[in-house]
């Protein structure tokens, strides 16, 4: 090493040749290496994102009652245990029920609010939008805590409507955002054209505005369903011991047991989520999803 470094310096001609020749040949080389590094980094990130999901599926199918790697076989016993468990089934149905009610409430309220903001010429609409999106920015656990304290003060217990109201509050921003995005993107002149052709404001609204807004409202509704179904921090304070949502039940189970039942429950919810994503892709297309 030490003999090479000084040795290569004195003869001037050779090093220049060596320095220029590869430089010419591999001129795109730094670019190509940068590109490779970029793709390699992104591949590692994708593995980081997806490996945990793959692991969950492996453990759901693994027959041993404890976490063992590499897996020793394939069995459906954890799925049987999950579907046979009254607690899990009750929680799954309750979660679906709450998510369905939340979706309806958040969609109706959020979509009408978005219409009012975009077409009602409200003063201070920027502030209204910021307010409507604020449940996203404030820690959701605070929404749960504040609602819990209010229900305690009002002495109403932990009613179902209280839980749905909490969920609606944290899912409304998604509906408002997707609906507003669609409302801002479509051409107001379509509405003006309809009115110029003699349509009444009401008819314009139902035959032009509403059909054009539908993809945004639908995307928001699906988002609201997913967020409500997976909602943890708000539910934490608002569920009552007898009726808990699936995430809470899974969490309580996880504190004591680490077996494949959680894996099976996870696979079931992953499948549910994928059905929702495919529904989203079929109805509004995944692309509109990102341009929020």
């Amino acid at each position: 090493m030490t003999s090479l470094a000084p040795g290569s310096q004195p003869p001037r001609a050779a090093p220049i040749d060596l320095a220029t020749a590869p430089a010419v040949r591999s001129k795109p080389s730094p670019l190509r290496w940068g590109r490779r590094l970029y793709l390699a980094a992104n591949s590692v990130i994708l593995v980081f994102l997806l490996a945990p999901i793959a692991i969950v599926i492996v453990f759901a199918l693994n027959p041993t009652p404890f976490i063992q790697f590499p897996p020793v076989g394939v069995s459906l016993r954890w799925f049987e245990k999950f579907f046979a468990s009254r607690d899990f089934m009750h929680a799954l149905l309750f979660s679906l029920e709450v998510a369905a009610m939340t979706t309806v409430a958040a969609t109706v309220l959020g979509a009408s609010a978005a219409l009012a903001i975009a077409r009602g010429n409200l003063p201070g609409s920027r502030l209204i939008v910021a307010t409507m999106l604020s449940p996203l920015m404030l820690p959701a656990i605070l929404t749960g805590l504040a609602l819990f304290q209010s229900y305690v003060l009002l002495d109403v217990g932990r009613p179902l409507w209280g839980l749905v109201a909490g969920h609606t509050l944290v899912t409304i921003p998604y509906v408002v955002r997707t609906t507003l995005a669609v409302l801002h993107n479509f051409d107001v002149r379509l509405e003006e054209a309809a009115q110029n052709l003699g349509a009444s404001p009401a008819r314009t609204f139902f035959e032009v505005t509403l059909p054009l807004v539908k993809p945004g409202v639908l995307a928001g509704a699906i988002f609201a369903f997913i967020v409500s179904f997976d909602q943890f921090p708000v539910s934490l304070f608002l569920v009552s011991p007898g009726s808990e949502t699936l995430p809470i039940t899974l969490f309580n189970y996880l504190k004591f047991d680490l077996d494949g039942t959680i894996g099976a429950a996870s696979v079931v919810s992953i499948l549910l989520a994928f059905i929702v994503v495919i529904a989203l892709d079929r109805t509004v297309g995944l692309r509109s999803y990102v341009k929020l």
């Binding site: 994102l49 077409r119 010429n121 920015m137 504040a146 609204f205 934490l236 995430p247």
Partner: protein, 291 residues
């Protein structure tokens, strides 16, 4: 006041009322009540003579334990945000710049899949990966690289890994939108003028994506400091954060006043961040208008 010539408020504006009512009754009123509860000596419904007190805040300020909990929460939030940005940016850049539609759809699926999997499920996944007998330790042991299992969870590192995995999709989706709107020709122009792709990125794309970086970071930080499931399971009850402490005050001690005061601290941290964010965003966009 509407400017002259601005279109008049019409009947569609009335559609805001149901949401306004929901926000008033189930958001602003409860948070106001929480603020009031944090300075009361007790529950005004059960106790007839309640008075104002600052004892809940004094308890926090005088006990280094609570200050340590607040700092731990902020520290975990900061590390999570930083890691989510470092991990999320390349992916968001790739998603924004990829030409093939199929490629874009696949990447989007990869980002949305974990997001749709659920917080509890993903935390469970990380427990199976990071625990003493978890996948990572078993693989490293069987390869003969380690003899004693690495302590990957029940500490802050484990919590941060779990939180980054849960919140990185939010960062990616926020950044993708912003990077996608940056005109690619600006980068090409910089390269035509002799800048390396790296330098073109550093001096053109990165500064222009600053609003997205700020928005994504704010979102991830707000989510990370309010996380409950991941810190409790991956921290194994060893690490105390504000949300865990708040829930503990309610479930174990039913100390509603102190929980409210802790909630107010969390609220103030979040609100000051939103204010700082708007201020910085104002500076950033102001600079661009000058240029």
């Amino acid at each position: 006041m509407p400017a002259t010539g601005a279109p008049r408020v019409n009947s569609l504006a009335l559609l805001i009322l149901p949401s306004a009512l929901l926000f008033a009754l189930f958001f602003f009123l409860p948070i106001g009540l929480m603020a009031v509860m944090s300075v009361l000596t007790g529950n005004p419904v059960v106790m007839p003579n309640v008075g104002f007190t600052t004892k809940h805040y004094a308890r926090m300020g005088n006990d280094s334990y609570y200050l340590e909990v607040i700092w731990t929460t902020i520290r975990i939030g900061l590390w999570t945000t930083l890691a989510a940005l470092v991990i999320g940016y390349p992916l968001a850049h790739w998603m924004a710049r990829i030409k093939s539609r199929t490629g874009h759809a696949l990447l989007l699926m990869a980002v949305l899949a974990p997001m749709l999997t659920g917080i509890v499920v993903r935390t469970f996944a990380w427990m199976t990966l990071l625990s003493d007998k978890g996948v990572i330790n078993q693989i490293l042991t069987s390869l003969g690289l380690i003899t004693k299992p690495l302590q990957l969870m029940y500490n802050e590192t484990g919590i941060i890994i779990g939180l980054v995995h849960i919140y990185v999709p939010f960062m990616v989706l926020t950044l993708t939108g912003v990077i996608g709107r940056i005109d690619e020709r600006l980068e090409q122009a910089a390269e035509n003028l002799g800048a390396s792709p790296w330098r073109a990125f550093l001096e053109v794309t990165l500064p222009l994506s600053l609003p997205g970086i700020l928005a994504g970071s704010l979102l991830v930080f707000a989510l990370a400091i309010s996380a409950y499931v991941t810190p409790i399971l991956l921290g194994g009850f060893q690490i105390m954060t504000l949300p865990i402490l708040i829930y503990q005050q309610i479930s174990a001690n039913f100390n509603v006043g102190f929980a409210a005061a802790l909630g107010m601290v969390l609220l103030i941290i979040s609100l000051s961040l939103v204010v700082a964010y708007n201020h910085v965003l104002g500076l950033v966009s102001g600079q661009r208008e000058l240029q």
